[in-house]
Amino acid sequence: MKKSYASWIVAALIVAVDAFLCVKNPQDLDRLLINAILALSAFATLHARLLSLASAGFAAIGAYASAILAIKLGLPIWLSIPAAVLACGIVALIIGLPVLKLNDVYLAICTLGFGEIVRVSIILLPSLTGGSTGANLSTGFAYEAMKQTRTWELALALLALCYLFWATSRSKTGRALRAIRENPDAAATMGINVVVYKNGAFLASALIAGLAGAFYAHSVGSLDAGDFKFSRAVDILSYAVLGGSGAWFGPILGAGLLTALPILLRDGLRFLKDFSQLPNIVNGLALMLAIIFMPGGLAALFARRSSRASEARGEASTPGDGIEDAEEERVSGPMLAVEGLSRSFGGVAALCDVSFAIERGQVIGLIGPNGAGKTTLINTVSGIFPPSSGKIKWEGREIQGRAAHRIASGGIARSYQNIQLFGEMSVLENIVVGHHSRIHTSLAGSWLRLRSEKREERAARAEAMALIERLGLGDLADQEASKLSYGDQRRVEIARALALRPRLLLLDEPAAGMNEIETAALGDFILELKERGYTILVVEHHMDLIMKICDEIVVLNFGSKIAQGAPEEVSRNEAVLEAYLGRE
C-alpha cells in the first residue's frame, strides 16, 4: 500500500513539473509528446527483451520520408505521415528477420549500425534529403510547408498509443510478451512463437518511432541528419530504462522526467554561467542514481495489478479441478518413439544412439547417473535444440528439429530440472500462459475489447485457478512465482505444463527439493494423472518414487541406453548396478 502511495506521488510530481514547464513554454509540450512517443517505441522492443537502439534510425526514416512526401510530392501530412510510418514498417520487416536472431549486446551493436547507415544515407542523398546541409529553407524545405502539426494532434496520437499499449498489456499478446521477457525458452515450451512475437515487437517499435519522427519533422519545421545521431538513440533508450521496461506507462514517465530535468537545470543553474557543462553532469548523475536505486525503473514503483485469484475463483463456472482428461489417441502405434537419437556438443556425445518407445497411458522412468544425458534427451524431444541424428516420432509423425512452440502446442509439455518459471508474474498468470494457444481472440480483437476475449480470458483464469487449487497452491495464486518455496515452484511448473493440456508430460526431476511427504504426494498425483489417461516420462533420482509410479524404466549411462524394462527387472540388472554402484 505504501509502495503504491509513493508511486502515485512520483507520477503526480513528474506530471506537475511537465505541466508547469509546458504552460510556461507551450512549444516544450510538442517536445515532451514526441519524446513520450519515442519512449513507447523503445519500450516495445525492450519489453520483448530486445536491446534495440534502432528507434532513432526509424525516427529518421519517418521524419525524412514524411518531409519529402509532403514537400516534394505535395502530399497533405495526413497522407505523408501514414506513408512514412508504412515505410518504416517495411524496413523493419526486412531487417528484423536477420537482426533479431542476435541477442543482447550483439543486437544493440547491430541496430546501432543500422542507425548509422540511415544517417549516412541521408547525407549521401542530397538531391532528395538536402544532404549534410539538412532539409530546410536552403534545400527547398520551406519552414511554413514543413511545420504543420498542432500540439493537440500529437497529444491525440499519444493518447491513442497509450490505449493500444494498455489494451495489449491486458491481452494474450501482452501476457506472451511478459513471458518472453522473463524467460524466452520457457515461453517457447508454453507454445508461444517467440520469433513471431519478437519480430512483431520490433515492427511495432519501428512504426511508432517512424510516427514520432514524422511528427518531429512537422513540429520542428526543419531537419538534418544530426537530429538522429547516436546520442539521440541513447536518449530514447534511457527514457525506457529509467521508466522501466515492465509496464507501458513507465517509459512515458521516464520521458517526462528526462525531458523536464534538463530544462529545470538549465533555468535553475543559469547563475553558474562558467559551468555550462554542469546541468549535463547533474542530469547524468540523476540518471545513474535512478538506475542504481530503481533497477526496475519508475514503473516498478507501481504494484502491477494482475487478475486476482479471488476473481478467478468467482469466475469458475465450470466445475472440475482444472485437469482435463487426456484426449484419445489419434493413431495406432506407440505415442512417442525415439529412434537412434544422438546429440553431441562439440566433441562430447551427450546422447548416443538411444531408442525406446512410450505407449499411451504409460509412466516411463528415465534414470541414470549425473551426466548420463537425461536432460539432453528431454531438451531434444521438447525442441529446445535439434538432435544431431536420429528420429523422434510423435504419434507416428517425425518431429525432430521442430521449433519448441510447435512441439508444445502439438501436445508435449515439460517441466525443467532448473526451475524456469516466469518469476515476476503471479502463480495464476504463470498457469494462464499455458492457455496461450487456446485463446483465439486476435490482437485487433483485444484492441476492440471484444466480448469473446473477455469470455476466453475468464474461462482460462477459472480453469487455471481450479488447477492451482487441485495442486494445493490456492493460497499462493496471487504471489509472485519467484517468491515461492522451491517445492511450491516445482508444483507450479507441473501445473503450468498441465495447463497446456498435453498428451505427453515430460517431468525433469519433479521431486528435487521436496521433502518425503511432498514427494509421496507427488507420486500419488502422477498416478492420478496416469489414471486420467496422461502419458508421462519422468526423470528422477528418488528411486522410491520411480519404483512406485513407473510401468517401465529406461536407464542411460554416458549417453547410451544400458537397460530397459519393468522396475523389478531393472533393479536386478547387472549393468545398472555397475553404473550406479561401480561394481566390478
Binding site: K24, T133, G134, V220, S222, R266, Q277
Partner: protein, 371 residues
C-alpha cells in the same frame, strides 16, 4: 495657417516625446549558443566575444546611462532545445534582440519563432544559404563562404596578373563541390581562364595523377578545394611534382594544421577569410588586445563575429533611440559603417553583411595579410 501651426506643433511634440522617452536603464540582449557538446568550441568562443562586447559598450557609455545585460543559454546544438531557449528568451527574459544560435541547423528551427514574435535575430556564425530569407527580423554579420573564399583571387590577380588557372577539388563532398563552383564563377568574373579541372574522392591519398594533368596545361595559378583531411597531402604532392606557381586554397586551408603539418609546402599559400588575427583593421587590433587581456588567449573568427554583433546592436539602439523590438529591427536595417573588427560594417537589403573580406598568405610559418 492655424492648421499648419497646429500640425507643426503636434509634429514637434511627437518628436519631443520620442526623444523624451529615453532607453530603459537595462536593455536585455539574449543569446542561444552551443556551449556543450561537439560544437561547444564555437559557442564558447562566440560567448566570450559577446561578453567582451557588452562590457565595452557599457563602459563606453555609448547608450548613456542605459546598460546592456546578457541572457545566454546553451542550445546544445539541438533544434528542440533551440526552440525552447528562443521561447524562453522572448517570453521570460523579454529580450530586445537575440544573438545566435551557433549552428545553421538550429537556426532553421529556432529563428522562425523569433521572426513570428517580431524579435530581431543576429546570427554570428550562420553561413548557410537561406538564413536571412527566413524573414525581415533576421540579420547576420558573418560573410558567407561564397563571398570570403574567392576574395583571395582579387589581390592574387593584382599581384601576379595570371591568365590561366587549374583546379583540384573533392567531388564526394557537398562543401568542396560548392566551393569549387564559387571559385569557377569568381575566376570567370576576374577574367582568368580555367584551363583544367580535376577531382578526387574522399579518402584518396595519391593526387599526383590529377596534379600532373593540371601541370601539363601550364597554368599561372592553382586553386585547391579540399577539406583539412586531404589539404595537406594535396599541397605536399603539388610541391613534389614541382608546382611553384601561386596556390589559392579553399576554407579547408585556413587551418593552423596546414602550417603545422604542411611546413615548407604551405609557404606562399593564399586563402580568403572573413576575419583573422592578422587583420589590419584598427578596431580589430584593439579587440584582439582586449580579448587577450580578459581571456588570456587569442580570439578566433567566431569571437570576433560575436563581439561585432554586440557593437552593431548597440549602434542600432543608439541610432533608433529605442529598445522596442520593432524599432530596433528598423534601426538595425539602417546601420551604416559601424566600426567593428570585421571592418566598417553595414547590412545589405537582404540583411546580409557588407564588410571587407581579407586575403591571407602563409609566410614564415604564420598566416599574414597578403599584400
Amino acid at each position: 495657417m492655424k492648421r499648419i501651426l497646429f500640425a507643426t506643433a503636434i509634429a514637434i511634440a511627437t518628436v519631443c516625446s520620442i526623444q523624451a522617452a529615453p532607453l530603459p536603464a537595462t536593455i536585455k540582449i539574449g543569446s542561444a549558443e552551443s556551449l556543450t557538446g561537439d560544437n561547444a568550441s564555437y559557442g564558447v568562443s562566440i560567448r566570450k566575444g559577446i561578453e567582451l562586447g557588452i562590457e565595452e559598450v557599457n563602459a563606453s557609455k555609448l547608450l548613456g546611462s542605459s546598460l546592456l545585460s546578457l541572457a545566454i543559454y546553451d542550445d546544445k546544438a539541438d533544434k528542440q532545445e533551440g526552440i525552447s531557449v528562443f521561447n524562453k528568451l522572448i517570453n521570460d527574459d523579454k529580450v530586445s534582440a537575440i544573438i545566435g544560435p551557433t549552428l545553421s541547423s538550429t537556426g532553421f528551427a529556432a529563428i522562425p519563432v523569433a521572426q513570428k514574435a517580431g524579435v530581431p535575430v543576429i546570427g554570428t556564425s550562420l553561413t548557410a544559404v537561406g538564413i536571412t530569407a527566413m524573414g525581415d527580423y533576421v540579420f547576420r554579420d558573418c560573410l558567407p563562404q561564397a563571398v570570403f573564399v574567392p576574395a583571395a583571387l582579387a589581390p592574387v590577380k593584382a599581384k601576379f596578373a595570371p591568365k590561366k588557372a587549374a583546379m583540384l577539388f573533392e567531388s564526394t563532398n557537398e562543401y568542396s563541390k560548392s566551393e569549387a563552383d564559387v571559385f569557377k564563377a569568381a575566376l570567370a568574373k576576374a577574367g582568368i581562364e580555367l584551363v583544367a579541372s580535376e577531382s578526387y574522392s574522399k579518402g584518396d591519398s595519391d593526387f599526383r595523377t590529377q596534379l600532373s594533368k593540371l601541370a601539363a596545361k601550364k597554368p599561372d595559378i592553382y586553386v585547391f578545394c579540399s577539406l583539412i583531411g586531404e589539404a595537406i597531402p594535396v599541397l605536399q604532392q603539388a610541391r613534389e611534382i614541382g608546382v611553384t606557381q601561386p596556390i589559392v586554397g579553399g576554407n579547408g586551408f585556413n587551418n593552423p594544421n596546414v602550417i603545422k603539418n604542411g611546413k615548407e609546402a604551405a609557404e606562399g599559400l593564399v586563402v580568403g577569410a572573413a576575419w583573422s588575427l592578422a587583420s589590419a583593421v584598427p578596431k580589430s587590433k584593439s579587440f584582439v588586445e582586449a580579448f587577450k587581456k580578459k581571456n588570456g588567449s587569442d580570439p578566433d573568427q567566431f569571437a570576433a563575429q560575436g563581439y561585432s554583433a554586440v557593437l552593431i546592436v548597440a549602434q542600432a539602439l543608439k541610432d533608433g533611440g529605442s529598445a522596442d523590438r520593432a524599432a530596433l529591427r528598423d534601426a538595425l536595417a539602417k546601420v551604416h559603417n559601424v566600426d567593428t573588427p570585421l571592418g566598417l560594417f553595414s547590412f545589405d537589403a537582404n540583411r546580409d553583411p557588407v564588410c571587407p573580406p581579407i586575403a591571407l598568405t602563409i609566410k614564415d610559418g604564420r598566416y599574414q595579410l597578403f599584400q
